[in-house]
Amino acid sequence: MKPCPCLCAALLSLGAPAALAAEGPEAYALLVGSNRGGPGQAPLQYADDDAARVRDVLVDLGSFPPEHVRLVADPSRRDLLAAFDLLQLALGQERARGVDTEVLFYYSGHARADSLDLGQEELPLSELKARLKGFGATITLVVLDACQAGALSNVKGATPAADFSFNAMNGLNAEGLAVLASSSATELSQESETLGGSYFTHHLLAGLRGAADVDTDGAVTLDEAYGYAYSRTLVDTASTAVGAQHATLETDLRGKGAVILTRPGEAAAQLVLTSELAAEVLVYRENRAAVVAEVHKAAGNPMGLALTPGRYGVLVRQGPVVRECGLRLAEGARTPLDPTVCREVRVRVDAAKGEATVQEADRRLERLMIETGLGGGTLRDTPYTERLEDFSFGRNLLWGNVVMLEGSVAWSFRRNFGAVLTVGDIDSDAWSRDMYTGDDTTSTDRYSWVTWRASLQGRAGLPLAGGWLTPYAQAGLGPAWAVTDWSDQDGGDREVDWGWHLVGAAGLQLMPTVRGWRHVGLYGQVEQSWAPVLVNLMGDRHDSGRFAVIFGLRAGF
């Protein structure tokens, strides 16, 4: 007696591979990923990757014998038909031996309402249907991740599945055809740069790993997988520019009982999200090589994700707080996730999607920065200072002439861009002259100034090395004012001259991201300003701007 005619062996058996695949029907899979676009179609980015991920799940987790899984990337019409022929031949041989067969056909690529687009060629859906039916497999599951994929479901006798319906079929022995499509007959299917693949396939695989096991019985049925993939795809695509994407499930199955696709409860390794956890969870392979699953975990029921043993990273987002964990899944172990031991990271706002998503933790965004800097600049000779020399003034070289102070408030409104408000002195100078007043006495005339500025600058930075180093450049303008002080034997006087200035700078920020040292960093920058504020009665103007090198501290919030 065959066990439940689950497609776990045929499709995505994520449990002990030998236990599930050794008995029952022989499972074959033909996986097609086609990035090529036809006339008027832009090439896709991740169709081949999606197909490869499906293969990885089928093969790595032991659901399908590796030799029964064939991946075809960017096939021509002839290549695809040849693959169909080979598969049909293999299935025929199995039937000749009296073995039941289960087939999974997966396609990710371009499609129209009436055909699959294979670059400049196409495969009409009617032909595809005929070939699929011609396999003669016990169960054929078709997964289409393409635009208007639901059009294939217009098969004779096929019944559309209601949304979120479970146990669509009665009976324990299901046979026939099921078509799981990424979108309706009139909708487009979308890829995600963030996920590195299509929304539908990503969520389908996550669901099959265990995220879709809503009744927590350790098995994921076709209906559960569809329901999960439908809702997660709809949520993710609802706010995109393309618009909402509704996955469809059409079945022509005979027999009783739910069609079990996977048994994550029997997986070699499992990550357990506890019942009290309510968070967005992103699971990726070590070193962020690939995103394995992204799930929305609601409080109430535990969720187990079937994974191959190994090292993983997990990002857990609960409201504005994001934490990152690294963990190892051991063979045969169920590893619970404890977010409280994870380190807190920063959330990156994905402006394109309009919502905060959990990104790689090393790309941080300090929203608000308080900065203070100290530096030195060059002294400049201008017509204004030359006039002072004509009037017998000599420059007093003081530390204040060279040292500059500044304080800033920076606001980052996008990942790499922000605005900076800076107040500081950009120029100071002191001059004096001794005048003989007779009777062996002299008096000293003194003249000095400090030029201040308040500038609003735009800043662009490029975080590197996990946010540790950020080279940046900024430029802006604003008011400047020079406070001049005069003193002679008659007393002193102070005046303020107003003007404006331009400033530009380039620098490097060092902001470590180690535990306990997260919000304070250093920066060094070179700066050039232009501030023609001072002008004398003879029309000589002094540019208070100069070249300066500044070092300082930054504190981020």
Binding site: R387, L388, F391, Y436, T437, D445, Y447, W486, L537
Partner: protein, 368 residues
């Protein structure tokens, strides 16, 4: 080296020092060069000789200059500088004058109203003008004058006259004639008197100064030409009563000495052994006070050999048999630097060298 030679060497060194510039280079000779000192609406340190001056801003409201208002304006300032203070002057002017105005610098080296130096100083758009002036070899009472003509605007921000190193002045010195008696000279045309004579001072050194005569024959009948001391540091030759100088005083000719003999720059009793009695030797009489390396020792016959009888000349009580040298005319005190009569050391400064007023002995003394 004799005492006299040492003195000559010292004076030579002093002379070199003097000729190099007594005052510090860069020293200002004009007070308030920046026109900062105003007494109300008038300049405190400058005299407005002609026209009107107004306080106006220059490069800044707070740094004021002087605007010379009117078609004819002259401002001046007298400096205490003499030929000993500055042999080379660096003059600078920072001013702005419109094309219709003209300014010039005038220097009156005797401050006697006569201008010995007149230089136009064009200054447009706050041009900084500077040049060197080689002063006369002798002057005193220097007055600087800025003279403006023309109706157009002329504003001065700074006028500076600073002592400069002598080697910076390569031009010919300013010609200064009409020098008073006692002024240093090198030609008679420089003297108001028309006489530039060489003086023998204490037999130690020679000076050329303006005076009234060179010889007795240059004077009126009954007058003798001899060394006199006026307001100047240097002595000069002047006509006066014969025999007016006592034994030991500096002299030029015999006729001015009461002894009738002028020897080695001092009125003497003898001019060598030939004028003393048989057996007497003509030699220097030691001055009454010590430290007489300046040579204040007039020649007398055997000043230490024997005592003198009543009525004979004496400088000191020790010269007389009676032990008393009549001093009813007082003591003869002379500057060891010039041999001129004095009452205090301050009167004995010559070219910055501080001499000493020393008591030579009894004035016109005779033994009691």
């Amino acid at each position: 080296m004799t005492r006299a030679h040492a003195f000559q060497l010292t004076l030579t060194v002093l002379g070199i020092t003097v000729l190099s510039g007594y005052s510090s280079c860069g020293e200002d000779l004009l007070a308030d060069p920046g026109f900062d000192l105003w007494c109300g609406e008038d300049l405190c340190s400058w005299e407005v000789e002609q026209g009107q001056v107004e306080k106006v801003p220059t490069w800044d409201e707070r740094d004021e200059g002087a605007s010379l208002v009117g078609p004819e304006v002259a401002i001046s300032q007298s400096s205490t500088a003499t030929w000993l203070d500055a042999q080379c002057i660096f003059f600078t002017l920072l001013a702005d004058e419109d094309p219709g105005a003209s300014m010039s610098l005038e220097l009156d080296f005797l401050d006697d109203g006569s201008v010995e130096y007149d230089q136009e100083i064009p200054a447009e758009e706050w041009e900084n003008i500077g040049f060197h002036i080689t002063t006369p070899d002798w002057y005193e009472g220097l007055r600087f004058r800025i003279h403006k003509t023309g109706d157009e605007r002329a504003v001065i921000a700074q006028v500076r006259a600073q002592v400069a190193p002598s080697e910076d002045c390569v031009g010919a010195p300013v010609v200064l004639d009409d020098r008073p008696d006692g002024a240093q000279c090198s030609a008679s045309t420089q003297c108001a008197s028309g006489v530039c004579a060489t003086l023998d001072v204490l037999g130690q050194w020679e000076a050329e100064s303006c005076g009234a005569c060179r010889l007795d024959t240059d004077c009126d009948t009954g007058e003798a030409c001899g060394q006199e001391y006026g307001t100047q540091e240097l002595p000069h030759l002047a006509c006066g009563e014969p025999s007016r100088h006592a034994l030991g005083e500096a002299c030029q000719h015999d006729g001015e000495c009461s002894t009738g003999i002028c020897y080695e720059g001092q009125c003497a009793e003898c001019d060598g052994a030939t004028t003393c009695g048989e057996g007497a030797i003509c030699d220097r009489h030691p001055a009454v006070e010590a430290d007489t390396d300046r040579g204040l020792e007039p020649y007398m016959c055997d000043p230490a050999a024997g005592l003198r009888a009543a009525g004979e000349r004496c400088l000191d009580d020790a010269d007389c048999l009676s032990g008393s040298c009549d001093d009813h005319l007082g003591s003869l005190r002379l500057c060891d630097s010039t041999g001129r009569p004095c009452d205090a050391d301050e009167e004995c400064t010559l070219w910055g060298f501080e001499g000493t007023c020393q008591r030579l002995g009894v004035y016109q003394g005779t033994c009691n």
